[in-house]
Amino acid sequence: MRSTQQVLAAGSVTLNRPRRLSWHRHLHGSDLAWAIAFVVPYAAVFFAFVIYPTAYGLWMASAPSLYGDLVANPLYARTVINTVLYVGLGVNVKMFLALLLSGFFMRRRWWIKGLLGIYMLPWAFPAIPAFVSFHWMLIGEEGFVDSVLLALFGIHGPIWFLNRWLALGANIVSYIWKWMPFWTLTFLAGRMAIPQEVYEAAAIDGASSSRRFVHVILPLLGNLYLVCTLLSTLWTMGDFITVYLVSGGAPFYSTDVLATFGFHYAFDAAQPALGVAAVMSALPVLIPIAIILMRTLQTREVQL
């Protein structure tokens, strides 16, 4: 892999040169006023709709007795397990398949572009109709999936939403259907940003496609993959609509995740403080992920 390494080394030298400060070292006078004026709109949004609601939510959920009530509810432990399975399986399976498929979409065939156009459809397709359709497909004997199973294989399909694991699986599959294309496109963009010489050098060295994946693609895309997985984990922890529409928590609230669980507490059981406490109990997981994400975003320049 000599020439590959040369190209990589050369790349890191040219790409990582220290960036000069452009404007001037410090802003003064009217420039500083402009710079501050440009940040003010976002700062206003941030304080009105992030800081204030978060502080309000933490205040609502501050009584320690709430967490005692929460743990006493047997549904809570089950909800936490569901959330871990839903986010853990959903995000990782989706990301790994997206990484592999982005390689598939790098192939130079005339029909690949058209296929990518079809494949991206779930991303552009709004979530609510899509999940309503998933719910409808799995609704039982009359649902599309069971009808297909009967027509093609003569199998009587299960009643999907009567079994906790099947319902949980249906949520995860629907989630992957909706969100895998977006991340595939992100990885595809990342792969395309790899200079062509790197591939060519690896090809000259006679690297097989699997070795190319391990020694060229993974080191170069590793950081992007990490950032995307962390970001997606944060987003998926708060996913409400998939579970709410696909399984609806069925059977008997056994597939609820924290977002839908908190919603039921607040708006069905009229216990908003418990609802906030339920979702805030995810903070010990969310905060470290956000810190790792920030650090990765900051140090990326150093690592190529």
């Binding site: 404007w23 710079a35 440009f38 949004v45 939510g57 079809i118 109709p129 990342g190 996913d239 919603f263």
Partner: protein, 312 residues
């Protein structure tokens, strides 16, 4: 890795002579090479077929239900027995009492989507210009703090925000939804704009400064035009985010005047006697704007999403 055009054409003919286009066969030199290429291409085509079925199954299901007449919805067939476009006509002419406000709901959804897009682009690009180009002191702090938005996901803040919107007197007001969507779209916009902006040389700003351009002129004349791919990608992202949202619209928009299509769709789902074919027809019509938007901009989208992941 470079594949010549001639090779590409032969690949296609060997693999696709049966299923795709019948182009005239070309001469092959090596049979073993040809066979392994044939296998690779066959595998690629199988994967392609799997992806097409996987992608289109839920959409096919919607179309099928929408094309049914009312009595046939619950029956175990896999294609519509008597396809008819009647349910689309019913939705578009609002001629069912479930759908009497359809166009108003659609307009509301559209207003939320467009306003979210414009405000996200404006606020996100101004912020990233100030941080990335003008290099305001402690700018890194702003972009890091903005990421804190994602520590508590939007749905987790639903309960406090629901109360706060009441106190801001924004209940049943479309701007409550727009504010929430902009709040949760802008941090991602700032990340992507920052990363994309690194590819624009800072020397451009310097020379324009020497010519006496003000920061506002720089932003309008240099920054925005060069950021076009990222703006397109994030604009689409923000529009889709607003179009996908349900929870806040359900909580905050309940009057006939302010209701949106997602809330109306979920009402269908929660009722026992709703006309399901009309529901699916509504859902399909609701899906048209974002799909059209995506296909209009898709060639320009990929460049904007790089996030600079492998750049220095």
């Amino acid at each position: 890795m470079s594949v010549t055009t001639a090779e590409v054409t032969t690949h296609v003919t060997t693999a696709a002579d049966v299923r795709l286009t019948p182009t005239p066969p070309r001469q092959q030199k090596h049979h073993s090479v040809r066979r392994s290429r044939y296998l690779t291409n066959a595998a690629a085509l199988v994967l392609a077929a799997v992806l097409v079925v996987w992608t289109l199954a839920p959409i096919y299901n919607m179309v099928m239900v929408a094309l049914e007449s009312k009595g046939d919805v619950f029956s175990d067939h896999i294609w519509p027995t008597k396809p008819a476009l009647d349910s689309f006509r019913v939705v578009l002419t609002q001629s069912h009492w479930y759908l009497e406000h359809f166009w108003r709901q659609f307009g509301n959804s559209f207003y939320i989507g467009v306003m979210t897009t414009l405000l996200t682009l404006l606020i996100g690009s101004l912020t990233s210009f100030s941080i990335g180009r003008m290099r305001i002191r402690h700018g890194w702090l702003v972009s890091n703090v903005s990421l804190l938005t994602y520590v508590i996901p939007a749905s987790f803040l639903a309960i406090p925000l629901y109360r706060i919107m009441q106190s801001y007197r924004l209940a049943n007001n479309l701007w409550a939804i727009i504010a929430v969507e902009v709040t949760f779209a802008t941090p991602y916009a700032i990340i992507v704009f920052q990363e994309f902006g690194r590819s624009i040389p800072l020397e451009l700003d310097e020379s324009a400064r020497l010519d006496g351009a003000s920061p506002l002129q720089l932003y309008l004349r240099i920054y925005l035009p060069l950021m076009a791919p990222a703006l397109v990608a994030i604009g689409t992202y923000a529009f889709l985010l607003a179009w996908n949202e349900y929870l806040y619209q359900f909580l905050l928009l309940s009057s006939d005047n302010s209701m949106t299509v997602p809330v109306a769709l979920a009402r269908f789902l929660n009722s026992d006697v709703a006309p399901w074919n009309y529901m699916m027809a509504t859902a399909i019509i609701y899906a048209v704007p974002p799909v059209a938007l995506y296909y209009a901009f898709r060639s320009r989208m990929r460049a904007g999403l790089t996030m600079g992941g492998v750049k220095g």
